[in-house]
Every structure is written in C-alpha cells, then in structure tokens.
C-alpha cells in the first residue's frame, strides 16, 4: 500500500524517522544526534530520507538505514529511499541540547565546547570533561579512541568510574 500524497505526509514521515534510535547510542534518536538532514515526500508518495554519517566508516549507518525503512513501513510508507549526504560534514555541534542531556543522563559525557577546526590544530587547550556519574571535573582521558568511532574513553578521579565521552569533531 502506498500512501496517498498529502502535504502532511512529509511532516509525519519526518517525525517517524526522527524517532529512530541510534543502534550504538540507543538513548538518543536521529534528530537528537543531528544526523537526520531532510525528509521529503514526492507526488507518487515516495519518501526520501537524507542522513549524514558521523564518521566516514561508521558501521551503524547500514543498521540506521534499515531501521528508518522499517519504522516508516510500519506506518504504511512502503516506498522509501534513504540517501546519504556528506556535505556539510557532520559535527558534534549538531547534537541538540536535548541529545546532550540524554547522553549525560545515561552515563556518556557529551562533547565539550565547540568542535575543533578540521586539521589546523596541533596542540590545543581542551575543556575539562564533566563526569556523567558524579559531576566532577577531575577527569582524565584514558584513550582518545573508545568503544565506537565517535567516543573517547575517560576515567573520573573523584568517583573512580570509567565513562565514555563523545569527542568533539
């Protein structure tokens, strides 16, 4: 069944796509992460969803594409195209305040400050990362690379807990 074209469809479809969860950060959805670019609906009822990857090799992208199609299909949108767009490149600045709050609530420190400018910086001054467990700023980077491409591994000097930090990009 293909939906009758309706000006409301694009808006409704956007709402459905926006609610799709990130498979590796299930506490946030695609809108929170700022990876959902556009949702369009043409006269024939085909929905085109445009997303942007966080990292070029992010292995979650295939799962995200499948999840978008499945979520829309559940609401009767059977003709769905998911496109990937690289420009402008995703940055952690695109994570919404709501997304940052949800990450912190689930023990993942959100990115601090603005994203570093691409490439030019050799040694920079970085803001302290707040421990998502106890709120202390006495934290240190254990490894710049963490459990997924977008995260670094930190540990807290106050509560001694390790935690993930979405690194500024």
């Amino acid at each position: 069944m293909t939906r009758v074209p309706d000006p409301r469809s694009a808006e409704e479809a956007r709402g459905i796509a926006a609610e799709v969860r990130d498979p590796e950060l299930p506490m946030v959805n695609l809108a929170d992460l700022g990876i959902l670019r556009r949702v369009e609906c043409d006269a024939a009822g085909t929905v085109t969803v445009t997303v942007t990857p966080t990292y070029a090799g992010c292995p979650a992208m295939d799962a995200i594409r499948d999840d978008i199609r499945a979520a829309l299909a559940e609401h009767g949108y059977t003709s769905v195209e998911v496109r990937t767009e690289l420009t402008p490149a995703w940055s952690t600045d695109r994570i919404t305040p709501e997304g940052r709050r949800k990450l912190a609530e689930h023990g993942i420190a959100p990115p601090t400050g603005a994203a570093p400018a691409g490439g030019g910086r050799r040694v920079g001054v970085e803001l302290s990362v707040r421990c998502p467990h106890c709120g202390s700023l006495d934290t240190r980077e254990v490894s710049r690379f963490g459990s997924t491409a977008c995260k670094a591994l930190y540990s807290c000097g106050s509560c001694r807990e390790p935690f993930d930090h979405v690194k500024p990009l």
């Binding site: 990857p53 990292y55 090799g57 690289l86 940055s91 691409g118 710049r144 963490g146």
Partner: protein, 274 residues
C-alpha cells in the same frame, strides 16, 4: 625524482581531466584501503587494550574513507567506459599491479614503532591532503575531504603523541623509533611526487598536486621530531624497480602477502555476505 622528470603515468593514452580524475581517486582510495588493512592486522594484537581499540577505530575511519573514494572512482570510470566497478570489485578483484597506493602505506607492522612511524608519516600527509581537497572544484570530493580531514587530524595526533612517548622514552624505545623512521622515510618522496595525473587534476581544480603539500608536512614533522628528541633521518629516497613505484603499480614484496590475505575470502567465496 625531480617533479618535472616524472612521466605521465597512464600508459600511452593522453591524460585527460576525466581519466586523470579516476586515476587520482584510485590513488587516494588505495592509500586509505591499504593503510586501513595494515592496522586491521593488529586487531587483538596491539600492545595494550586501549591501543587495540584506538588502532581499530583508525582502521575503520580509513576504511570508510576508502569506500567513499573507491566507489566514487568506480562511478566516474563508468561514465567513461560504460562499465561499473563497485567498491568491492576494486578492493578485492584487482591484482597487485593494478593497485596504485604509495609504498609507504604497505610497509609491514614489524614492531609497534614501525606502525607508529607509518601512521605519523601518512596521517600528517593526509591532513594536508584533505585540507587542500576541501577546496576541490568537485563537490563530492570536497565533501569526502571535509569529512576525512577531521578524522585524519585525530589519527595524526595519536601518532604524534606516540612518537613523542617512544622517542623521549627509554633508550630502547628511542632506538626502535629511530630505526622505524629510518626504514620508512625513504618511501615518503613518492607520496609527494608530481606526475601527469597530479598535474592534470591540479589544473582542473579537481585535486591537488601533492608536491605542494610537502612544506607544511615537513614543518609538522620537524615539530614532532624536535619534541620527541629525534633526528630527521638522513636517508635517500628509495627508487622503485626501473624508476617505477607504487603509483605505477610496482610495489614492495610484502604487499603481495597483504593482498592475498585481504582478498582471499572474497575470491574464494564470491559475493559472500554475513
């Protein structure tokens, strides 16, 4: 080799903007793919857990870049030849002489210092490369570059920190880091060599002539080496067989073994998925 002496390296055909663009994308894609595979070899074998995670992440970033570059090369080539080679066909079904990566990225891991040295020399180049390509007249390549430059900056930082730790570490770590830099430095000239393809893509604004990236690369390397207490190796560039190198499909001996491992599954089970 002097930039002006380098031959136009696309056989007997004249270099046109389009074939040059395809050749250029294959070089960038092959560099990223082979660099990625060398790091993938270290998964579960890195010296510590955090390093295992870091090297896998960097490998994954490079693989993502390779996929974007190779699939774009395939699509551009299709416009010229009418035949599409997918990213998988380009990665898994070409033979050694058809790969046009620089020899630097195929250097084996040998010891951790060699891995760090390879990553340092290559990622410092990648940062300059993708910074320049952010201004490409081609929207798709500029988009890939804008994405890749942020990742490359993290890779370069990782390698630079390790270079300082090893160079300014114990006598043994400094000795190994020195030996690794001496072994790899001769292969850096090729990375910055100008030739017909480089000049053609630079002329159209599609790409950039790597020769122009060298001063910024040199300056960055000098800074890291000084901080690490290491000397810039005084070694001459390694010429390839008959003056040909990686960009001509003439590679080092270990590269054949790398390809055999990388391509084995796909060649034995064509189209396999999991």
């Amino acid at each position: 080799m002097n930039a002006e002496d380098a031959p136009d390296r696309v056989g007997a055909r004249a270099v046109t903007a389009d074939t040059a663009a395809v050749s250029y994308l294959l070089r960038l894609g092959d560099d990223a793919l082979v660099a990625s595979h060398r790091l993938a070899e270290l998964v579960t074998r890195a010296p510590q857990l955090e390093e295992d995670v870091a090297l896998s992440n960097i490998s994954l970033d490079l693989l993502g870049q390779a996929r974007l570059l190779l699939s774009y090369a395939g699509r551009l080539e299709e416009q010229l030849t009418g035949v599409l080679r997918t990213e998988d066909e380009l990665a898994y079904l070409r033979d050694e002489s058809q790969f046009v990566n620089c020899r630097l990225v195929e250097f084996p891991n040998t010891d951790f210092a060699h891995t760090v040295a390879r990553q340092l020399l290559f990622s410092a180049y990648a940062v300059e490369l993708y910074t320049a390509l952010g201004g490409s007249t081609d929207g798709e390549l500029a988009g890939i570059a804008a994405k890749a430059v942020k990742e490359a900056a993290y890779h370069r930082d990782h390698a630079a920190r390790w270079t300082v730790r090893l160079g300014d570490g114990t006598g043994e770590s400094a000795r190994r880091m020195t030996r690794a830099l001496e072994a790899l430095w001769p292969y850096t000239a090729e990375v910055f060599a100008s030739d017909g393809v480089a000049r053609a893509v630079s002329g159209t604004g599609f790409g950039t002539d790597p020769a122009g990236l060298r001063p910024a690369w040199d300056a960055f390397l000098d800074g890291v080496l000084a901080e690490a207490g290491l000397q810039r190796p005084a070694v001459a560039p390694v010429a390839g067989l008959g003056g040909l190198g990686g960009r001509d499909g003439v590679h080092t001996e270990p590269f054949g073994y790398l390809l055999a491992e990388m391509q084995h599954l796909h060649r034995s089970h064509p189209g396999a998925q999991w």
